[in-house]
């Protein structure tokens, strides 16, 4: 981490970029947040560890409105979102200096807490660049140990890959974390009857409190004004007036990001109610792959999304 911090400092001092977009440490050891660092002094609070799950790509939209260039730290999976934003003309390449940061998987604090570990004061061993696979957790009730690999976010267990799709330089190495099939759960849900499916999603979505965290964190949800906030449409509301609306919000959101979602998993990571929102998006990804051949949104800036392009080989409706 120190190497990364030093390099950012150097780039800012050499005036390659005017600010940096990274993570700063939070109140506890496990609540790092996305942050702009406008001067080298502010870099004291910079961190990069397993708790830096936040995908910074979307912040680049704001960074592009600022003077000069911004250093942005991107984990391999974050680069897909960055590319997708580039493709949609929401950010400008020349406004960013991309440091591709190595990643050995990001951590899920709720998974740690699920082991009965409460009153956490500090967590050691979350460093991204160490090969140690042990988390040492200090709590007010005593010390605990947990394997790093056992505390990974679900998305890291079915990681898309350790390659950065776009970068100016790479710091640190990435480790393989794949231990599950990305579409396993989707296949299970597909086996359900329509009534069971409806029940499953109704149950999950009934937890929604419409805090909009999923939408606000989602790099694909980057509309200047969301249809759910715009008074131009009848869909604008803060809270749901009935159980239909909470479902409508998530279903419409899934349709809006279909073909553009990179499966970064931020929606599920930030959901305070632990709704597995990524399942909607993954179902779309699976269907797109099946109908149009493998497609990974954001793997490059040139390839057209099958949903907004046409070719003679396209699947014919009704002939699936």
């Amino acid at each position: 981490m120190q190497e990364l911090k030093n390099r950012i400092k150097q780039l800012m001092e050499e005036n390659v970029a005017q600010r940096a977009l990274g993570w700063k440490k939070g109140e506890f050891g496990y609540d790092a947040q996305a942050a702009f660092f406008e001067s080298t002094d502010e870099l004291d609070d910079f961190v990069y560890n397993g708790f830096c799950g936040a995908n910074l790509s979307k912040y680049m939209i704001e960074a592009c409105k600022k003077e000069g260039r911004t250093i942005i730290c991107l984990k391999p999976c974050d680069t897909y979102s960055f590319n997708q934003l580039l493709k949609e003309h929401r950010i400008q390449r020349e406004k960013a200096y991309i440091i591709g940061v190595g990643c050995k998987g990001t951590l899920d604090i709720s998974k740690i807490k699920a082991n009965g570990i409460e009153g956490i004061v500090d967590i050691e061993g979350a460093d991204m660049f160490s090969s140690e696979n042990l988390l040492k957790i200090k709590t007010v009730y005593g010390d605990h140990e947990l394997a790093y690999s056992d505390a990974l976010l679900e998305r890291c267990n079915c990681c898309k890959g350790k390659e950065h799709m776009i970068f100016d330089e790479i710091i640190g190495e990435s480790a393989d974390t794949v231990s599950a099939d990305r579409f396993e759960q989707i296949e299970k849900i597909e086996q359900l009857t329509s009534i069971e499916k409806f029940e499953f999603f109704r149950n999950e979505l009934s937890k929604c409190i419409r805090c909009n965290a999923c939408r606000n964190a989602c790099p694909a949800c980057n509309c200047r004004k969301c249809v759910f906030d715009s008074d131009k449409f009848d869909s604008a509301q803060k809270a749901n007036s009935d159980s239909f609306e909470e479902k409508m919000f998530h279903i419409i959101r899934a349709f809006h990001v279909a073909g553009r979602c990179t499966d970064c998993g931020e929606c599920s990571r930030v959901c305070p109610q632990n709704i597995p929102l990524h399942l909607f998006n993954r179902k779309f990804i699976k269907d797109i792959n099946m109908l149009y051949g493998d497609f990974s949104a954001g793997s490059n800036c040139e390839e057209n999304c099958p949903l907004t392009s046409y070719s003679f080989d396209d699947a014919e409706p009704g002939k699936i």
Binding site: H89, N222, C223, R224
Partner: protein, 662 residues
Amino acid sequence: MQRIGVFVCHCGSNIAATVDVKRVALAMLSENGVVFADDYQYMCSESGQLKIAQAVKEHNLTGLVICSCSPRMHEATFRKAAEKAGINPYMVEIANIREQCSWIHKDIEQATQKAIILARAAVAKVNLNSPLIAGKSPVKKRALVIGGGIAGIQTALDIADAGFEVDIVEKTPSIGGKMSQLDKTFPTLDCSACILTPKMVDCAAHEKITIFTYSEVENVSGFVGNFTVDIKKKARYVDSAKCTGCGLCQEKCPSKKALSEFNCGLSNRSAIYTPFAQAVPNVPVIDPLQCIKLKTGKCGLCEKVCAANAIDYTQKDEIITREYGAIVVATGFDVINLDNYDEYAYSQSKDVITSLELERIMNAAGPTKGHLERMSDGKAPKNIVFVQCVGSRCADNKGKSYCSKICCMYTAKHAMLIRDKYPDVNVSVFYIDVRTPGKNFDEFYRRAVEEYGVNYIKGQVGKVTPEPDGSLTVHGVDLIDGRQVKISADMVVLAAAIEPNASVRQLATQLTASIDTNNFLTEAHPKLRPVESPTAGVFLSGVCQGPKDIPETVSQAGAAAAKVIGLLAKNELTTNPCTAHSDELLCNGCSACANVCPYGAISYQDKEVNDHGIRETRRIAMVNTALCQGCGACTVTCPSGAMDLNGFSNKQIIAEVDAICR
């Protein structure tokens, strides 16, 4: 607040027999905005329209809902009626209670309920309608004809004779098409070339016609009256301006192994070639895959012998851009590939041929100089079997479901010509039905049977087996006698199905013209607008629209020309005001709409906007309303709802859905 009048049409008994029209009218009176509702026997009639005008005046109406047939039938009628009565024509909505209701339901109660719901949706939409003003666009007074067969030639001649410029784009080195490959034509047996070549020459000589042979349409943009087309002129390696057409180059060319396309691969041609003697233009092309000079750099014989100095090995493909007011598709047909029909041994024996190949064999300029010979050993055949419907009228996916229409007649022609010239040859024809519904067609067929003794067998052929002695055993069934038949033949002729030229799929995409499941171009209306494509400004001529013979093709070519002339005679066209526009405060500039726009109507501009006090430069989608056809693809793709369509706004459509679900 709108003041809406609802008019429910009986359409004689078409609607009134299944829908309680009085109840529909009554139900509408309680809808928001409706101040008047009535029913009438024929709303589209003079008196029906008068009723509308009176109601507008008496009740001071601002919007109209007509519950009647499909808007494709009478939307224009009612819009005109509204305009006459002093209402903006776009304040009219049609609730289709005929095609989408009365015609498809039997239960009066249910049909009436549905009619009420459909009318309610239309009322909900009119409540949100706003007046729209149609614009004007100029007409480029030149037509493009794609395809230089008899269909394209006739269309071009007719348009040019009316005084308009026409360009013909033909893929092959000469115009003439399939008709130039035919020997004789039914039912008069006149020589195909004798009646076609004068027309080809007329085309070349016509001051209003420009022919681009060996050329293809590369790109089409624009809209009715204002198309811009890129045409790729493939490198000919021969300077058309210098070439005298003496033919010496073809004679001297040492590369003579290429299969002649014109003779269906039954003879060879040189690397530098004109497809046939009467080719227009009479300028050869060099086949770059066959030319020794172009492949290896050596040879160059044609250049040496050319007295006119016309050979130019450095020629490159050239793209030219031309503007047109109308486009006629006349891309014609091909014979289907017979790979799926190996039971007829087409790939196994040279003596199993298609009818088009027989056409070349019978022709004096063909591979056998017009002598009827077997392609395997050059011997004269004694027994010939014709097999009808090879790949036509297929119930399975193996072939085409449609009837190719021309095969019954050309087979009768072939059988008759053979029996006439070679009376000792036995001719049998296996058929499913003999279809002869044309002028003098049945008389022609009966002559083949009665005067020429052609043996017609009702039944299909199951298998053709090549025998070691070179003969072919045809295993078939005679349905009338109810028995299996086995005929030993020297030659088998397959009436292979015809299908639209393969290029039509891509062309249809370029033109945004629709095609059916068999790749035939679709008409704007199968009965009432048979030579127009649903895409404005695109017209259809010949087999690209459906199987047809020469007389039919020529009539259709003339009809397409008449439509084109009608369009080009106008100085300006009324444009559709139902176009898309983007809300600059909502637009993300993400390009999703431009990606899905089939008309290339959307571009982007960096524009300074004032978003509630925040001034910034944003990438904003701009719609070229001249290009926009109002399809609405952009509005459903736009995630932020910035794109909206005049006359079909997101709000209007949601209001309709809400009214239906209420």
